[in-house]
């Protein structure tokens, strides 16, 4: 259960980004979470609710975008998901595959009703 420290990281990042833009009210927080980020979405939502108490994002919902795992061939760029017997070599050219998506742990944005200057 390391979601609490990650929730705190999200909140700190949002508050810093908002302060830099002079924003004082936030209506939603958006994050991208890789399927293999090692972070559980429900535990993260719970931790966010607890950790956001008394901050600008106290009532803002946390919108979680799950990024599915994807492999790409290092030789031809062909992408596929690692299911069944796939995943070891490229189905198109037999090249080596490497993980290209699925480990994201990123604050992608937040919503506000306020006018924003730049």
């Amino acid at each position: 259960m390391h979601e609490l420290s990650i929730a705190t990281g999200i909140i700190d990042a949002v508050l810093a980004e908002a302060a830099a833009r002079g924003i004082t009210a936030i209506t939603a927080v958006h994050v991208s979470l890789g399927q293999w980020s090692g972070v559980d979405p429900d535990a993260l939502r719970f931790s966010f609710d607890v950790a956001s108490d008394g901050t600008l994002v106290e009532t803002s919902p946390l919108v979680i975008n799950i990024v599915p795992v994807a492999y790409a061939c290092e030789a031809c760029g062909n992408e596929h998901a690692p299911d069944g017997s796939q995943g070891i070599t490229c189905l198109q050219c037999g090249g080596a595959m490497s993980l290209v998506r699925g480990r994201e742990l990123q604050l992608t944005g937040f919503e506000t009703m306020e006018e924003v200057s730049a």
């Binding site: 990281g9 293999w36 090692g38 480990r103 990123q106 604050l107 937040f110 924003v116």
Partner: protein, 224 residues
Amino acid sequence: LSEPRLIEVRRNILKENDQVARKLRQSFREAGVRVVSLVSSPGSGKTTLLERLLSEFHSEHRVAALVGDLATENDAARLARSGARVKQIITGTVCHLDATMVSRALHDWHWQELDFLFIENVGNLVCPSSFDLGEDLRIVLTSVTEGEDKPLKYPTIFNTADVAVISKLDLAEAAQADLAALRSNILRVRPGMQIFELSAKTGIGMEELHRLLSSPAQAEARAV
């Protein structure tokens, strides 16, 4: 009434840990210290492997180890018998090590004088995968008694490690382990991963791992 507007930012959430880890990795490289970390579930044999590695390396190299656990100094006491310098990091309720804990544990050490630093993470297949510790090489262990589908159940930890060790090879027969299935499951979540089958108890298979750790090119698997 106006619509809410979306302010886009792209910011990695573990940025702070990643920054500390990057700084650590840079200073380790500059000082010529090779740093190897071990992750696995509790009871896969991290401490036994480390015990073996420390006593093997101790005669030729300057080696030390950091070991993370929620409580007790048992592992540090056990490892100190090898003659290497060992420090226990007690995490309390925290289920993983992070870069700051490593940095803090090293601050009163002349770690720059080391050839090898081993870091044993808390036994946990989930949380340690999110935290870079500044190591050059991360080894994930899975023992023959754990079941062949461990890599499929915990793909993230296998994906964030550089090489895999199948441990307790001396028990493979008794456990009726399907080593081919285990290997293929590791490769399914981490294509091309280098796999070592060994028993730290009997010493079978240790040579190959020893060779990997001693080879400078191989040991720097991670980008600064």
